[in-house]
């Protein structure tokens, strides 16, 4: 592209974003995924409420337990969300660009007075809008269920932590939407790009936790005579695990929803001296704790979006 361009690169942006969002809201594909998420969410929260009522009598953060309590055989709400949110995001984005090629609508749309930037960004924003609406609805549903069944309102700090959790989930979904968008620009066939995105999802949600220790073992073997090598290996393993957005999201939710979390890495006894074990961290310190994780996810999102952007700008749009 030429260096100096006239007009706004955002001409048509809101039109595209709103159309995309409306399309998603009307598509059966998204309805299916949302029903899946909704059912699991209700199931896990309902089970959690039973557990909370039975065991915890006095808990400062009863409401946050709604999200994190797992009742056999159901995992917790947070676990479900970490597992299913990528699926929603992939369903929203896997055919964003190559779908337009295949429908042969791309050249018609791009012959309107808009830049390519607007199309790509509009599709991304449209997807984000849908995700935001769905997550907010889900969050309100869970909070409402909790108030109804537990019979008490959440405290101010619980609301703050809950909202921060909502935001983290939103960013996490954004990362996966960017993954899907990048594949949809690079790969020409929607079926293939969906498979690619799902493969990445499986790799990071299922296999990465198994692979991280293996890789760490190979990269930083433990010397039985030197205890520091064990520490080193754990550090390496943690660094590798954090390549996965799921790890970052898991750590973020842990710190936000479990106020007793003081650190997301290894802690030595001397670092804990003076700390009250089990005492909750104030919300502001929890935010400081998750800051690197959150920043990492946002950075991943931007990098992925840039990859999609660059690949789209260079493409021939004959179709």
């Amino acid at each position: 592209m030429t260096s100096r361009r006239e007009g706004s690169p955002f001409a048509g942006l809101s039109t595209i974003a709103l159309k995309e969002a409306a399309d998603h809201m009307n598509s059966i594909r998204i309805h299916l995924v949302m029903v899946l998420v909704l059912l699991t969410a209700i199931g896990s929260v309902y089970a959690a409420i039973g557990q909370i009522k039975a065991t915890v009598g006095e808990d400062q953060f009863l409401f946050l337990r709604l999200f994190t309590t797992a009742q056999q055989p159901l995992p917790s709400f947070v676990f479900f969300l970490g597992f299913l949110v990528p699926l929603v995001a992939i369903a929203l984005g896997f055919d964003a660009i190559n779908g337009e090629y295949n429908r042969r609508t791309l050249s018609r749309v791009l012959s309107q007075p808009i830049y390519r930037d607007a199309l790509l960004t509009g599709k991304f924003l449209g997807g984000l809008l849908v995700i935001a609406i769905c997550l907010l609805a889900l969050w309100l549903l869970v909070t409402g269920l909790g108030m109804l069944l537990l019979g008490l309102p959440p405290s101010g700090e619980e609301i703050a932590r809950g909202l921060a959790f909502l935001f983290a989930s939103f960013v996490y979904a954004g990362v996966w939407l960017a993954v899907a968008l990048a594949f949809s620009t690079i790969v020409k066939s929607p079926a293939t790009s969906a498979l690619c995105a799902l493969t990445a999802w499986l790799l990071f949600t299922v296999f990465w936790p198994m692979l991280a220790p293996l890789i760490a073992g190979a990269v930083a073997p433990i010397d039985p005579l030197d205890p520091m090598t064990a520490v080193h290996q754990i550090h390496v393993q943690q660094a590798i695990a954090r390549i996965s957005p799921n790890t970052l999201y898991g750590e973020t939710t842990l710190a936000l929803l479990n106020p007793a979390t003081r650190s997301l890495g290894l802690l030595f006894a001397d670092q804990l001296s003076g700390a009250l074990m089990g005492a909750p961290l104030p919300f502001s310190l929890s935010v400081v704790l998750i800051w690197p994780q959150l920043a990492g996810m946002i950075a991943a999102l931007l990098v992925l979006f840039t990859i999609a952007y660059v690949s789209f700008q260079r493409q021939e749009i004959r179709a």
Binding site: G7, A11, T15, S111, Q112, Y115
Partner: protein
């Protein structure tokens, strides 16, 4: 006459292959210009270059006095484009599809509504305006594409293969519509490999071959220049020595014997009456006399004769 499209030394290379290899073109306001040539001769590539959807390797383009690469939005606001394989959002209705592109084109909804209704009426799709495009036939989609150009009130309409895949009647209807719009002052650039069909509608044509424009001009001029005469007359006659009979007849440029008693006369005017008169006057029996206007296909074949060509008809 003002020039609305001007291209100079346009080159587009894909790797070492030059899809467009040094093209010069000018299109005047209000004319119907045909980019004609066989498959793969660079018509679509030229169109993408004019629209600024592809960057040229070399050369300059000016559309409505603007450079499509530097002022893409201003250019695209005033050009309508009908791609060769046109697609719509199948889950939306015809009306919704047009409304979407109208919004992208920056039309406010009240004005767009009126224009969409008018445009759908013009292409005779008003009855199916609220049907999903998934149910549309090829010809209906093509007309819907033209409606989009109408909604935009484009000054220049660039249509890539507008009649391909249409049955003869639909094609003719589409051409009639184009002719009507051209009469209202819209400049058209049409691409096609159906030379014979296009010659009826194009004021001027450029004949493409391997990324180059071999010939540009009005259809009559091209046929006259390349084929020697625009008119081809076939006579079937007996007892007359045509060579002698036609000696000195004005406008006749060639005489070729065909099978049996048939002859072909090339002329640059309609000389049928004169020829008939002379044959009869010389005591010959005239069985038939017919005239066929030369087609662009013949021009194409003749002009690129000897080269290895593949004209699709």
């Amino acid at each position: 006459m003002t020039t609305v499209i001007e291209a100079r030394g346009l080159i587009k290379r894909y790797g070492h292959f030059a899809a467009v290899d040094g093209i010069d073109l000018t299109v005047e306001k209000g004319e119907v210009f045909g980019l004609l040539g066989p498959n793969g001769s660079g018509k679509t590539t030229t169109i993408l270059l004019l629209l600024g959807l592809t960057e040229p390797t070399a050369g300059s383009i000016s559309v409505l006095g603007l450079d499509p690469l530097r002022r893409p939005l201003a250019v695209k606001r005033r050009i309508g484009y009908l791609p060769d394989q046109i697609g719509f959002y199948d889950h939306l209705t015809a009306w919704e599809n047009l409304a979407y592109t109208a919004r992208l084109a920056g039309l406010i909804s009240k004005e767009a509504d009126g224009r969409i209704t008018g445009a759908l009426g013009r292409v005779r799709l008003e009855e199916v305006a609220n049907r999903r495009v998934a149910t549309f036939s090829r010809g209906m989609r093509q007309r819907l594409g033209l409606a989009e150009v109408l909604v935009k009130k484009a000054e220049i309409a660039i249509l890539d293969e507008p009649t391909s895949g249409l049955d003869p009647q639909s094609a003719q209807e589409l051409l009639d519509l184009i002719r009507e719009l051209a009469g209202e002052g819209v400049t058209f650039v049409l691409s096609s490999h159906q030379l014979a069909m296009m010659q009826t509608i194009c004021g001027r044509v450029g004949l493409f071959r391997r990324g180059q424009v071999g010939l540009v001009g009005r259809v009559e001029d091209l046929t006259a220049n390349v084929l020697g005469g625009t008119f081809r007359i076939e006579v079937e006659t007996e007892n007359a020595d045509l060579v002698k009979v036609l000696a000195g007849v004005r406008h006749v440029s060639g005489l070729t014997p065909l099978q049996g008693r048939r002859w072909r006369i090339d002329a640059d005017a309609d000389v049928r009456a004169d020829v008939a008169h002379r044959i009869v006057g010389a005591g010959g029996a005239l069985h038939s006399i017919t005239m066929r206007q030369a087609t662009l296909d013949e021009v194409y074949v003749r002009f690129f004769e000897g080269e290895n060509h593949d004209v699709a008809a």
